[in-house]
């Protein structure tokens, strides 16, 4: 089955539109979606009781707690601060106090829809991608606005933003822009000077000398900062969402996110996700791994063995890549209770029921924050509190982690999600 370009464009737009509608209705089902099966062999080397850390403590933030809007398009942890981009405003959450400060257009925010955030660790400046409004720098309380009319930004529809040394990269619907904050020079990357068959850039990230663009229809493009050369990662199967030859390359050229960490490149597409270690590719399909869905909006790698995926049906975490262990976090739309399902090679190992998990199953943004994680959904922001977090696997560890979390939560802790 081949998906035509117009259909895919609608799906892409659907990512954002659905975020706006999700609190009213369940997200649309994809034709490619299949229920997670349980048939797969457990790797012999890893006993079934070797389990990954499971996030059982969640705190939710919505307009009720002070967010400007519940449709969370971007989240970025910055020390004790967490920056939150919404459909109608920017917010900054103080982890220590739970206090939220919000900015809307009336407060100087140049554009209401904030779709991307990155923080320049050196200067402390917060860079915002604005959906239709260009770029903004938030520095010391001042918003500086860069758009396609007053600057060299190639397009105002900005999906992603990333800091690379003195450069700010913006992934836009008409190519990528690079702005050097010292020289003031803007550089545009399109089909003219980059291997972009399509110029619709969905994401941009930076790690260790390389910039990674996720491009609708052009896969993941790696830019070597030192040599200024591009290296494309494309789907060897072409535009087929069917993976004809397994693990031969990127799952699909419609890439929504790319996150490089340690030696691994984690990639999300609308037709599944994948990981590349510089030599080997590995594709992740929902029906084979237990990830909630193939329709993946975003990705964040925590390490070379742990990758987090924001999907339209929940949060999927490849919690231990070597053992093919996955944790899928979802929320029951009826009971509103949370659930973490642990899989190994697609087989359910365990189901953990919790009072709460992700605030909504339609997830478009996430960030890792030390032991914690922040999940931006169509109905608020979720804070996954990682007290006692450990990487990899431990014997019977999820129970210990859960108990440690309970013990660590102080009375009335705003993060605990409940009063004691």
């Amino acid at each position: 089955m081949k998906v035509r370009l117009p259909q895919l464009r609608i799906l892409v737009l659907g990512g954002l539109v659905a975020a706006g509608m999700a609190c009213q209705q369940a997200p649309p089902r994809l034709k490619t979606e299949g229920a997670p099966p349980s048939a797969a062999a457990v790797p012999a080397a890893v006993p079934a009781d070797q389990l990954p850390y499971v996030y059982t403590r969640w705190k939710h933030f919505t307009v009720r707690e002070g967010l400007p809007n519940d449709h969370i398009f971007a989240v970025k942890a910055d020390g004790p601060r967490v920056w939150v981009g919404t459909e109608d405003g920017l917010a900054c959450l103080d982890k220590r106090t739970g206090a939220i400060r919000a900015w809307k257009e009336k407060d100087g925010l140049p554009w209401r829809v904030v779709t991307a955030i990155d923080v320049d660790k050196r200067t402390g400046d917060v860079w915002l991608g604005l959906f239709g409004g260009g770029l903004a720098r938030f520095s010391g309380g001042r918003f500086d606005h860069f758009n396609q009319l007053n600057s060299g930004l190639v397009n105002d529809v900005v999906y992603g933003v990333a800091i690379e040394h003195d450069n700010v990269w913006a992934a836009t619907t008409a190519g990528a822009s690079r702005y050097n904050v010292v020289t003031g020079q803007w550089t545009v990357f399109t089909e003219k000077n980059a291997p972009m068959e399509e110029i619709w850039n969905y994401s941009v990230s930076y790690d260790n000398g390389k910039v990674y663009l996720g491009v609708w229809g052009s896969g993941c493009l790696e830019f070597d900062v030192a040599t200024e050369r591009w290296k494309p990662y494309l789907d060897p199967d072409g535009e087929m969402e069917i993976d004809l030859y397994r693990d031969d390359g990127i799952i699909h050229v419609i890439v929504t996110g790319a996150s490089h960490v340690d030696d691994a490149l984690w990639i999300s597409t609308y037709f599944g996700s994948c990981r590349y270690d510089g030599r080997h590719w590995r594709g992740f399909y929902a029906q084979e791994t237990g990830l909630p869905s193939d329709f993946t909006n975003n990705v964040k790698g925590r390490s070379s063995r742990e990758g987090w995926f924001a999907t339209d049906k929940g949060l999927g975490v490849v919690a231990d890549f070597p053992s093919d262990t996955v944790v899928s976090y979802t929320r029951d739309p009826q009971t509103l209770r949370g659930k973490a399902t642990l899989y190994r090679s697609g087989k359910i190992l365990k189901v953990v029921d919790m009072e709460r998990s992700v605030p909504h199953n339609f997830i478009i943004s996430l960030d890792i924050d030390g032991n914690d994680a922040w999940i931006g959904t169509a109905r608020g922001l979720g804070w996954a509190i990682g007290t006692g977090y450990y990487p990899g696997l431990r014997k019977g560890a999820d129970r210990r982690a859960g108990r440690a979390a309970e013990a660590a939560a102080p009375a009335g802790d705003p993060a605990s999600g409940k009063r004691r």
């Binding site: 050196r122 200067t123 402390g124 400046d125 720098r137 520095s139 010391g140 309380g141 001042r142 500086d144 396609q148 009319l149 007053n150 600057s151 060299g152 190639v154 397009n155 003195d166 008409a174 904050v181 010292v182 003031g184 020079q185 803007w186 550089t187 545009v188 399109t190 003219k192 000077n193």
Partner: protein, 958 residues
């Protein structure tokens, strides 16, 4: 038959070609190649000889051919000063733009046969010739034009020959009459003569074994620099350089006749023997760089140079002589000059005339002033360091003896100075050089130089001395420098025009002033920023807005840490400046920046007696007094801080926000004294004991010493400047004085700080509120860009600053003729800083190169010809990038009375935002994205975003 075969081949090939390519190919079109400069000698290969009216010969003797060399004349240096060019004229793009050909071209745009030092050559007027130089093309005028041949008109001559104030001022002669000049350089061909290539006989010794002639340009590579006494330029204007050309003049004919030589003298071996280099002495011919048109060049005397011309050989006499460098003696000259044409020859006199100086000519400079701008006191209180802008030095003053003890050379235009907390180092910002000099205090010398951003001003370290902060006033940033490695570790975004900074008493915060307002919406008042930096993280943690204020410069913390005090102006640029009569235009005061971010503003002006241009502030260690300099009224105001703060605390919030910032009657409540200083007090510092204050009196070359206890000026420390006051210095004092404005409200400096911009749009005419708003333009390098005003109605600076200024701005008696002449002279000499985006000699980046192609393009992206009047280069041609005419580029707005505006020059255009006549465009991009929707300001709407970005990258290099 052959024709048919060719057609058939084309047809077959056509089947394989895409349609658009096919169409062009069938028309026989070739891909358009970028023309490159080929040089006058290539043109001369056809354009000389009797049949061609000896055009090249005529050019050789013209001033055009000596235009480059003329830049070595002392007058050129003076003109450069009058043009605000702080560079060697032969290296300055603005000078070369008219005194050479292809000055804007990169190396790849010049053929090996082209030499910039040939001055104004054929291609200066006719365009780069590589594509039309072919004889077959040149004989078809239309074809040649299609290939880039330009047919200049008188208007084209005016691109360079339009009167320039700097040239008129120095040369004291009227501009060139271009109509008459056109006649002078007319390229006439004798009637009835049949064009034929000029031919020369073979040099008699062309096959002689040994060295070859390299030509004078090879020698000029080393022997042209100022350090070598401009030897090439001196030769260039000598008769030797014209020796071949004179053979083509009518005057040469009778002389030759006396020697029995007739016919074409330029083809006569007898004449060429002494009138050229190659026919002079035996050699094995000439390299490609040699041309007979050089006349008698270096090698005529020194011998063919191909084997000794290399610098390594030339510098080693034992190697140079065997390689062919001949020793010159009397006989060398006499070989040609003895009894030549019956002229007497005095060898010593002649030798003196062609002397080859080996050092730079002595420049007779006027008095060199010091212009102290800021002063810092060593932590132990024993010495003062004074940054002296005009002297490029820091002067060390013994605090006890109150006398200068040393002067330390630093970079260009030092602006601010500070000490490391241990007192071992001093840091000096060099505004012209974009650097910070690091001084070893004990050794009293510069030990390192740190590269900073554009035009660094304020400098200060943190309390531990580990981090140095440098305010880059022109690129709106703060350099954070690791004091150990002296490397910049990051750059923070400041406000616009960061100026001074002060460390809070607990060392945790830096308060940074910014002298330009943020960009505000059209016809809205200023919103300036005070930037707070968290020292621990070295990040900006707060930006405090000071509404209605601009030129926020000086800053000092109160010892309590509760607030910082800044100096500020409140410029009423939205109403006609003639409202000054009612107390409008500019008020001057202080801002109180509370630690929690609140702001109060109070005025230091009093009714009838303003306190113009408050520039710096210092607080006594006991927190009781603040001293504030007024640079244009030569006073220091003493502010009783408890009274000031008490007044604020007793007032309502509404009073503090809406009354005090405008109230001319409040200063009397907290200003307890005015202390007179010497001329133009700028920076000041109070010693750690709180007993003495030192004020840098910029235009008196001195420090004024103030006893803080008695509040009296008790001394003057002479910094060693010249006693004589030149006309320009007098003008500088006028520029920085408020004496010539009603109630002494402001000075020229108030709107043109340090000769540049304040970033505001003014309503300068009494034609209704808001009518005809105009952007304030820089004065840097302004003289040669006449006429002045956006309407282009003032032909001279004297007119601009004369009675008109009194009527519309100052509202007092106009300047006297003596004053206005001096003022003009000073304004002319305000230097234009070197371009930051393309240092002298630097190649263009790839993006800039592509931008240049856009700037010079003649066709749109889809191939349409852009009408000449819609091309960038038509109105913005080099070297000033203005045609100095008015044009309607579609920017007229509702409040404008006219639509034609003066074409602004583009030199250093990046540092004078906002743009367009009314300052409506905050950025260069907006000029075209927002305000050129109908392609009236050049054809730009076909451009892609990357093309516009690259165009802007190029514009920044101009």
């Amino acid at each position: 038959m052959r024709f048919k075969a060719a057609l058939l081949l084309r047809f077959l090939a056509a089947l394989a070609l895409p349609l658009p390519l096919l169409a062009g190919w069938l028309r026989g079109e070739e891909k358009e190649r970028h023309p490159v400069f080929v040089g006058a000698r290539v043109c001369a290969s056809c354009h000389d000889g009797k049949a061609m009216g000896r055009q090249a010969t005529c050019w050789c003797q013209s001033k055009h051919a000596k235009a480059y060399a003329s830049l070595a004349a002392p007058e050129a240096g003076k003109i450069a000063v009058w043009s605000g060019i702080p560079q060697e004229p032969q290296e300055a793009a603005v000078c070369l733009g008219c005194h050479a050909t292809g000055a804007e071209a990169e190396d790849w745009e010049k053929d090996d046969t082209f030499f910039l030092k040939d001055g104004v050559q054929c291609e200066k007027c006719h365009g780069a010739g590589s594509e039309y130089a072919d004889e077959r093309i040149m004989k078809d005028r239309d074809a040649a034009v299609r290939k880039g041949l330009e047919i200049p008109t008188l208007d084209d001559c005016l691109k360079c020959h339009k009167e320039k104030g700097s040239h008129t001022a120095v040369l004291k002669r009227p501009p060139v009459d271009v109509a008459a000049g056109m006649n002078l350089i007319a390229h006439r061909r004798p009637a009835g003569e049949r064009a034929a290539r000029p031919t020369l006989p073979e040099p008699p010794a062309a096959n002689h074994p040994g060295s070859k002639y390299t030509g004078v340009m090879a020698c000029a590579e080393c022997h042209g620099a100022p350090a070598m006494g401009y030897q090439f330029s001196k030769w260039c204007v000598s008769k030797h350089a014209e020796a071949f050309a004179v053979l083509g003049t009518p005057a040469a004919v009778p002389i030759a006749a006396t020697m029995g030589v007739q016919g074409d003298l330029q083809a006569s071996i007898a004449c060429l023997k002494c009138h050229t280099t190659a026919y002079h002495q035996p050699a094995s011919g000439g390299l490609g760089s040699y041309s007979v048109y050089e006349g008698v060049g270096c090698e005529a005397c020194h011998g063919a140079g191909s084997d000794y011309a290399r610098e390594a050989v030339m510098k080693n006499r034992t190697r140079a002589a065997p390689a062919g460098l001949k020793k010159i003696d009397r006989e060398t000259c006499l070989a040609c000059h003895q009894d030549a044409h019956g002229k007497p020859f005095d060898h010593p006199t002649a030798l003196k005339a062609i002397a080859h100086p080996t050092q730079a000519p002595e420049v007779v400079e006027g008095p060199r002033y010091k212009t102290p701008l800021n002063v810092a006191i060593r932590p132990d209180g024993k010495e003062l360091y004074v940054a002296c802008e005009a002297a490029n030095s820091v002067i060390v003053v013994d605090a006890a003896a109150r006398r200068q003890v040393a002067e330390i050379p630093v970079g260009g235009q030092p602006a601010d100075v500070t000490f490391s907390p241990d007192g071992r180092r001093a840091y000096v910002s060099n505004r012209l050089d974009d650097s910070v000099s690091v001084i070893d205090v004990r050794a009293r010398r510069v030990t390192a130089t740190i590269h900073a951003g554009d035009e660094p001003h304020g400098v200060l370290t943190d309390r531990a001395g580990k981090t140095l902060y440098v305010l880059n006033t022109s690129d709106e940033s703060i350099s954070v420098v690791d004091a150990a490695s002296l490397k910049e570790v990051k750059r923070l975004a400041a406000g616009r025009g960061p100026w001074s900074l002060a460390l809070s008493p607990d060392g945790s915060r830096l308060c940074v002033t910014n002298q330009l307002s943020r960009f505000v919406k059209f016809r809205m008042p200023s919103m300036s920023e005070v930037t707070m930096v968290d020292v621990k993280s070295a990040t900006v943690d707060h930006r405090i807005v000071v509404p209605g204020a601009n030129l926020i410069q000086g800053v000092a913390w109160h010892p309590s840490g509760q607030y910082a005090i800044v100096t500020l102006l409140r410029t009423k640029n939205l109403v006609p400046m003639t409202r000054l009569l009612q107390g409008w235009t500019i008020t001057n005061g202080l801002g109180i920046i509370w630690a929690d971010g609140r702001v109060d503003q109070v005025l230091l002006d009093e009714p009838g007696q303003c306190f113009p241009d408050p520039t710096d502030v210092a607080v006594t260690p006991d927190g009781r007094l603040a001293l504030v300099t007024s640079s244009s009224s030569d006073r220091v105001a003493v502010v009783d801080l408890p009274r000031l703060i008490g007044m604020l605390r007793q007032a309502s919030q509404e009073e503090r926000e809406t009354v005090f910032p405008h109230h001319l009657g409040k200063a009397a409540e907290f200003v307890i004294k005015h202390i007179a200083t010497r001329t133009s007090p700028r920076g000041l510092a109070i010693d750690p004991a709180g007993k003495t204050a030192y004020v840098a009196s910029a235009l008196d070359d001195s420090l004024t010493v103030i006893d803080v206890r008695t509040l009296e000026a008790v001394g003057r420390v002479d910094l060693g400047g010249p006693a004589a006051i030149t006309k320009a210095r007098f003008g500088e004092r006028i520029f920085h004085s408020a004496k010539n404005t009603f109630h002494r409200q402001f000075s020229c400096h108030s709107c043109h700080p340090d000769g540049h911009i304040d970033g505001l749009t003014y309503d300068t005419m009494p034609d209704g509120i808001g009518v005809g708003p105009v952007d304030n333009r820089t004065l840097r390098g302004i003289l040669d860009t006449a006429p002045f005003k956006w309407e282009g109605t003032n032909p001279s600076l004297q007119r601009q600053c004369g009675a008109r200024l009194a009527v519309f701005f100052t509202r007092v008696q106009p300047f006297t003729p003596e004053e206005i002449t001096a003022l003009e002279e000073y304004i002319c000499m305000i230097p234009r800083p070197p371009n930051r985006y393309r240092p002298v000699g630097a190649k263009l980046t790839e993006a800039q190169r592509r931008g240049k192609a856009i700037f010079e393009r003649t066709r749109t992206n889809d191939g349409r010809v852009i009408p000449k009047e819609k091309r960038c280069m038509t109105c913005h041609f080099p070297p000033l990038y203005t045609d100095r005419l008015r044009h309607d580029v579609g920017t007229r707005m509702r409040l404008d009375e006219v639509g034609n505006f003066d074409t602004p020059h583009l030199n250093n255009i990046y540092d004078s935002a906002p743009y367009l006549h009314n300052g409506i465009a905050d950025t260069l991009e907006e000029i075209w994205t927002r305000y050129n929707l109908e392609d009236k300001h050049g054809v730009t709407n076909d451009m892609t975003k990357d093309q516009l970005n690259e165009l802007i990258e190029y514009l920044k290099t101009l």
